[in-house]
C-alpha cells in the first residue's frame, strides 16, 4: 500500500465514523425491492420545468413571465394513453401537488410516497389537489381507458 492509499484508507475510516449512510437509508434501500413487479405500463417523465435546456415544453412559460416562472415547478408524464400534468408547490417544508389526469379511467387514483399509498380525489375533469406530502420520491398510479394499470416513474419532490 503506497502513501496515497494509506491516507485514503484513513479518510475512509473517518468518513465511516462521521458520515456513513444512516440506518434509515440502508433500510429504505432494502425496502425498495417491495415496489417491484408492477403490472401495466410506465408513464415516463416527458417534461420537467427544471431542465436547463430551453427546448423543453415549458420553455415558453419560463421565457414568457419571468416573475411567475421562477419558483414554479411543472412536471408531465405520459404512457399507455394517459397523461399526467402537475405543479409542485412547497410551503413550510410540506409539498402540495396540483394537477390533472388526461385519458385515464376508473375511480382508483393513487399516490405513493414515503412507503405508503393514498387515494387521490379526482374531479370530473381529472383534476386533483393533494396537500401535505413529505419530501422524497413519489409516483402516481391510475388506469388507462382499457383498464390497464399505469404507473408514473419515480420523481423526487
Amino acid at each position: 500500500m503506497d502513501n496515497d492509499d494509506a491516507l485514503l484508507a484513513d479518510l475512509r475510516r473517518i468518513a465511516a465514523t462521521v458520515d456513513g449512510p444512516p440506518d434509515a437509508v440502508l433500510a429504505a434501500a432494502r425496502a425498495a425491492f417491495l415496489t417491484r413487479d408492477l403490472d401495466g405500463e410506465l408513464a415516463l417523465l416527458v417534461a420537467d420545468s427544471r431542465t436547463t435546456d430551453d427546448t423543453g415544453a415549458y420553455a415558453a412559460i419560463r421565457a414568457g413571465t419571468d416573475q411567475d416562472a421562477q419558483g414554479r415547478w411543472m412536471l408531465s408524464f405520459e404512457g399507455g394513453g394517459v397523461q399526467v400534468d402537475m405543479e409542485v408547490e412547497e410551503r413550510a417544508g410540506r409539498v402540495r401537488l396540483i394537477g390533472q389526469f388526461s385519458g385515464a379511467s376508473g375511480d382508483e387514483y393513487l399516490l405513493e410516497s414515503g412507503g405508503r399509498q393514498r387515494r387521490i380525489e379526482v374531479d370530473d375533469l381529472g383534476r386533483f389537489i393533494v396537500d401535505d406530502i413529505e419530501h422524497g420520491p413519489i409516483r402516481l398510479r391510475c388506469h388507462a381507458v382499457d383498464g390497464a394499470p399505469i404507473t408514473t416513474v419515480w420523481v423526487t419532490i
Binding site: 485514503l8 462521521v18 449512510p21 429504505a28
Partner: protein, 195 residues
C-alpha cells in the same frame, strides 16, 4: 466462499430473489451516499437521492444492458438525482445561483462536519484539513472514501469526468491535503482545547 459478482446478483434480482437485492444494496449504498454527500447534498436530500436511485433500479432492472457495470449505472443515476434536487432547491430558494459556480456555493451549505465524533486528534485534524481543500478536491476525495473503495469507472460516472483524469487529480488532491495538514500543525492549531 466466493462472493457472487454484480452481474450474477442482477440476474438473481431479475428473477425475484430478495436476498440478492439485499446484497446489492449492501454493496452499493455506501457509494451512493458518498456521491450524494460529495456533491454537497445535506443529509435529508442525500437520503432522498439515494432512495430514488434504488427505486429507479427496481423500475429498470430488466433493462440494464451491462449488469457487470451496475456500479457505474447507479453512480450516474444518483448524480442526476442530486442535480435535480439541487435545481429544485435553487428554484425554491431564490438567490441560490445556478450553473457551475452554484455548485461551489451549494457545496458549502452542506451540514457541518461532525467533529464531536472524532476523539482522535490526528483524525480530527485530517478531517478538518479536508474541509479546507478546494471543492473539486473535496468532491473527488469524498467519493473515493466510499466503502468498499469505488472503481475509477464508478468515480468517473459519479462526477461525469474522464477516467484518465482521476488518478492524477487524486494524487494532486492528496498532496494538497498533506500540505494543509502540515500547515495546520506548524501553526499549532488543534481542534480540541485550542483556546
Amino acid at each position: 466462499m466466493e462472493f457472487p459478482g454484480t452481474a450474477e446478483l442482477v440476474a438473481r434480482v431479475r428473477s425475484g430473489d430478495a436476498a440478492a437485492w439485499e446484497a446489492l444494496t449492501d454493496r452499493f449504498t455506501n457509494l451512493l451516499w458518498s456521491i450524494a454527500r460529495g456533491l454537497g447534498l445535506g443529509e435529508a436530500d442525500a437520503a432522498d437521492a439515494v432512495q430514488t436511485t434504488w427505486l429507479r433500479l427496481v423500475e429498470n432492472v430488466h433493462a440494464i444492458r451491462e449488469p457487470d457495470r451496475l456500479g457505474g449505472w447507479l453512480a450516474t443515476s444518483v448524480r442526476r438525482e442530486c442535480y435535480d434536487i439541487l435545481r429544485r432547491s435553487a428554484r425554491t430558494q431564490p438567490g441560490a445561483p445556478d450553473g457551475p459556480e452554484g455548485w461551489e456555493g451549494i457545496a458549502d451549505r452542506a451540514d457541518p462536519l461532525d467533529f464531536a465524533l472524532l476523539r482522535d486528534e490526528r483524525d480530527a485534524a485530517l478531517w478538518n484539513a479536508v474541509g479546507t481543500l478546494r471543492p473539486a478536491c473535496r468532491r473527488l476525495l469524498r467519493i473515493l472514501m466510499a466503502d468498499p473503495p469505488p472503481s475509477y469507472a464508478e468515480v468517473a460516472a459519479a462526477l461525469d469526468i474522464p477516467i484518465g483524469s482521476i488518478g492524477p487529480t487524486r494524487s494532486r488532491c492528496l498532496d494538497c491535503l498533506r500540505h494543509r495538514l502540515a500547515e495546520q500543525e506548524a501553526a499549532g492549531q488543534t481542534i480540541f482545547g485550542g483556546e
